[in-house]
């Protein structure tokens, strides 16, 4: 009997068989893998498994505790819904990439040491890149390229941090890192930057809103869940209670909201709301109390479900209409009412409407801010809630399914497997909202929080109902405009291009000019040394001709003579000169060395 089976390996090795199978068998097999992983998880007991000593270090692939289990559970459950959603896709490569990606994320969650964490971290980055490139458009290939560059940078930061950490502590165990100000904490800083890039914390977030909307319809659904949430997981493990994270998280939550107002692309708007929602979790990690950590874990759980549902809805619209811009959408309720209602369940969940899952997790983080007496954090997170409902809950559905009397384009409901996946995900969102104890039981700490206390429900209802009024009054301002929005990717997309232009044009010209001057100088030396008399005569004549011609035109005659004289002094080919020059330089160097040796005895004492 095997003591423990790594669920990530079920996906990674399971993915290898996908291209071999065909048709119905392949579909059944792909749906079976998450179920096998789920069974594996249900029978798992806490403890440390699969530790392999490698020279002085111990690699640990299975650290099982409540925190890793809750993330593993939601990854596996979500992967089932997402696979169902992607079942109609014919390209095997996409399925394989998705399974490797999930396997990588599960590997990160169970990693008990920094080396195995790093390996799975990179598997995730490369597998997710494939999900973007499979869209096979110019935009997606470029966005994917930028995506992987950012993630490679993040990976290098992480690796640098790990190496520094191992050097200073002598251990590769992945536990809470030391935190403080000063040179002693450089390792922690590097590791944190690596984590923050994957968590999409501004200003290191632009890859997310840049790349996710360019991914394949089904690939984007996978992308929403694993990269950012595994980053939240490692932040909880490594940096709980770091005050910096509170402020970064709060800024993130509002940043995503502000950019969502300006977006014209349906999936890019939703991508900005991933940033916003992950902001709540990062703030929760920063607050670091038991309730806040519970809130961050619970919110990650709920977020994966409702965000997948929202991307499924948006994906269905793009799949059926071929359009993704608000300026080209509208009035689709006539053709896709079912998609609309399923999307709305996701929208109510993300907005934190009571009886939907966002309400039971988001309020936990907001309440923990109140519990830790952080008034500003509380106000800003509440404000982000307003913005979330305003966009995901009102603007997107209004501009996509209504806003025009007649539909802009003919469409129909998406294929059954997509609807079924949305249905299951929507059911889970509502189930957790109505019966939060199911989720609370999985949380890392004991929960002493009643989400449905009257004051919470009433406060949230007022907030959201009034937001609707505000939206309706200002809805004319919220129509999409055919524009794009600048973000911090400007620095590598525009400034980077300008930098390369600067290197290629002025800098290169400067270098060639210097080169030319030096070559001319060398040439003239050689000419001079071959025939000093003739060369100096030519020099004198040339200078005097140039200086005196303006005063006395007769000197122009001399110019003709100069050309003749130059012709006579035939130049030798450059190559030979450079060899001669090289020998001369070497000799000079040795002479210099000799001089120092003679005066000081040794080169440097």
């Amino acid at each position: 009997m095997i003591e423990w089976l790594h669920p990530g390996l079920i996906y990674i090795f399971g993915a290898l068989l996908i291209p071999v199978l065909k048709g119905r068998w392949q579909k059944a097999y792909m749906l079976m893998l998450p179920i096998v992983a789920l069974i594996d998880l249900t029978f798992m007991t806490e403890g440390t498994y699969w530790s392999f000593p490698v020279s002085d270090y111990v690699l640990t692939f299975g650290r099982v505790d409540k925190l890793s289990l809750i993330f593993a559970f939601v990854f596996v459950i979500a992967s089932f819904c997402m696979t169902l959603y992607a079942l109609h896709v014919k390209e095997n490569g996409q399925h394989v990439a998705a399974f490797l990606y999930i396997g990588g994320a599960l590997g990160v969650v169970f990693a008990g040491d920094l080396f195995s964490l790093y390996i799975f971290w990179e598997i995730m980055a490369w597998a997710s890149l494939c999900l973007i490139w499979y869209r096979k458009t110019k935009a997606s290939s470029e966005a994917g390229f930028r995506y992987i560059m950012v993630h490679l940078f993040g990976g290098i930061c992480l690796l640098a941090g790990i190496i520094l950490y191992v050097q200073s502590t002598g251990s590769i165990a992945f536990n809470v890192f030391d935190w403080g100000l000063g040179w002693g904490y450089v390792a922690s800083y590097f590791i944190l930057i690596g984590f923050l890039i994957n968590a999409a914390v501004p200003p290191l977030h632009a890859w997310l809103a840049d790349a996710y909307p360019e991914a394949t319809i089904t690939g984007a659904v996978f992308l929403t869940a694993f990269t950012t949430k595994s980053a939240v997981y490692v932040l909880i493990r490594g940096f709980p209670n770091v005050e910096l994270l509170i402020w970064l998280g709060v800024i993130m939550a509002l940043y995503g909201v502000v950019f969502a107002v300006l977006e014209n692309d349906i999936r890019r708007l939703l991508a900005y709301h991933i940033i916003s929602q992950v902001g709540y979790m990062v703030a929760g990690v920063g607050i670091g109390t038991a309730m806040a950590i519970n809130g961050a874990s619970a919110h990650a759980f709920c977020h994966i479900l409702y965000k997948a549902l929202l991307f499924m809805g948006a994906g269905a619209v793009i799949e059926m209409t071929g359009r993704s811009k608000f300026t080209e959408l509208g009035g689709l309720y006539k053709y896709m009412p079912l998609t609309f209602w399923l999307y709305m369940i996701g929208a109510f969940s993300i907005s934190g409407v009571p009886l939907f899952n966002g309400f039971v997790s988001k309020t936990m983080i907001v309440e923990s801010a109140a519990g830790s007496h952080l008034p500003l954090v509380w106000l800003m997170l509440e404000c982000a809630s307003i913005g979330t409902f305003l966009h995901t809950g009102l603007k997107v559905p209004y501009l996509t399914w209504f806003s025009r009397k007649e539909p802009v384009v003919e469409a129909k409901e998406p294929p059954t497997n997509m609807l079924a996946a949305m249905g299951i995900t929507a059911f889970l969102c509502v189930f957790i909202g109505v019966y939060p104890q199911a989720l609370y039981r999985l949380l890392p700490y004991t929960v002493e929080y009643a989400p449905y206390a009257p004051a919470h429900v009433i406060g949230m209802s007022q907030l959201l109902l009034i937001t609707f009024v505000g939206f309706w009054a200002l809805r004319s301002k919220l129509h999409g405009t055919p524009t794009i929005t600048l973000d911090t990717d400007w620095f590598y997309r525009k400034a980077g291009k300008r930098f390369i232009w600067f290197c290629e044009k002025p800098l290169l010209k400067f270098a060639t000019d210097i080169d030319k001057v030096m070559k001319d100088l060398a040439n003239s030396f050689i000419r001079f040394s071959r025939n000093p008399m003739a060369a100096s005569m030519i020099l004198i004549t040339a200078t005097s001709t140039r200086l005196l011609t303006p005063f006395n035109p007769a000197y122009r005659q001399k110019g003709q003579e100069l050309v003749e004289a130059r012709k006579q002094a035939v130049e030798e080919p450059m190559e030979k000169m450079s060899i001669g020059m090289g020998v001369l330089l070497v000799l000079l160097f040795f002479a210099f060395y000799l001089l120092i040796y003679l005066t000081h005895g040794v080169l440097w004492a």
Binding site: E382, L390, G459, Q462, L463, T467, G470, K477
Partner: protein, 78 residues
Amino acid sequence: MGRRIKQKYLFGILYACIAMSLIAGVHVQFFTHFHADFVWQEIPGFSAIYGFFGCVAIIIISKALGHHWLQKEEDYYD
């Protein structure tokens, strides 16, 4: 049902809900054991006021940022 009438009903329900939530808020605050974490939570209907001004502020500030700085033509990066 016509679009207009539907909208009218919808808004009727909406305003009724807002009124109910405000009344319920006042009830909870003054007639039950109520614990406020911050000073402003003692203002009746604070969430509603904050919600309205927050919503308007988000739209106006973001639009201004976009209009004057962040929004560019779609071929900006090409």
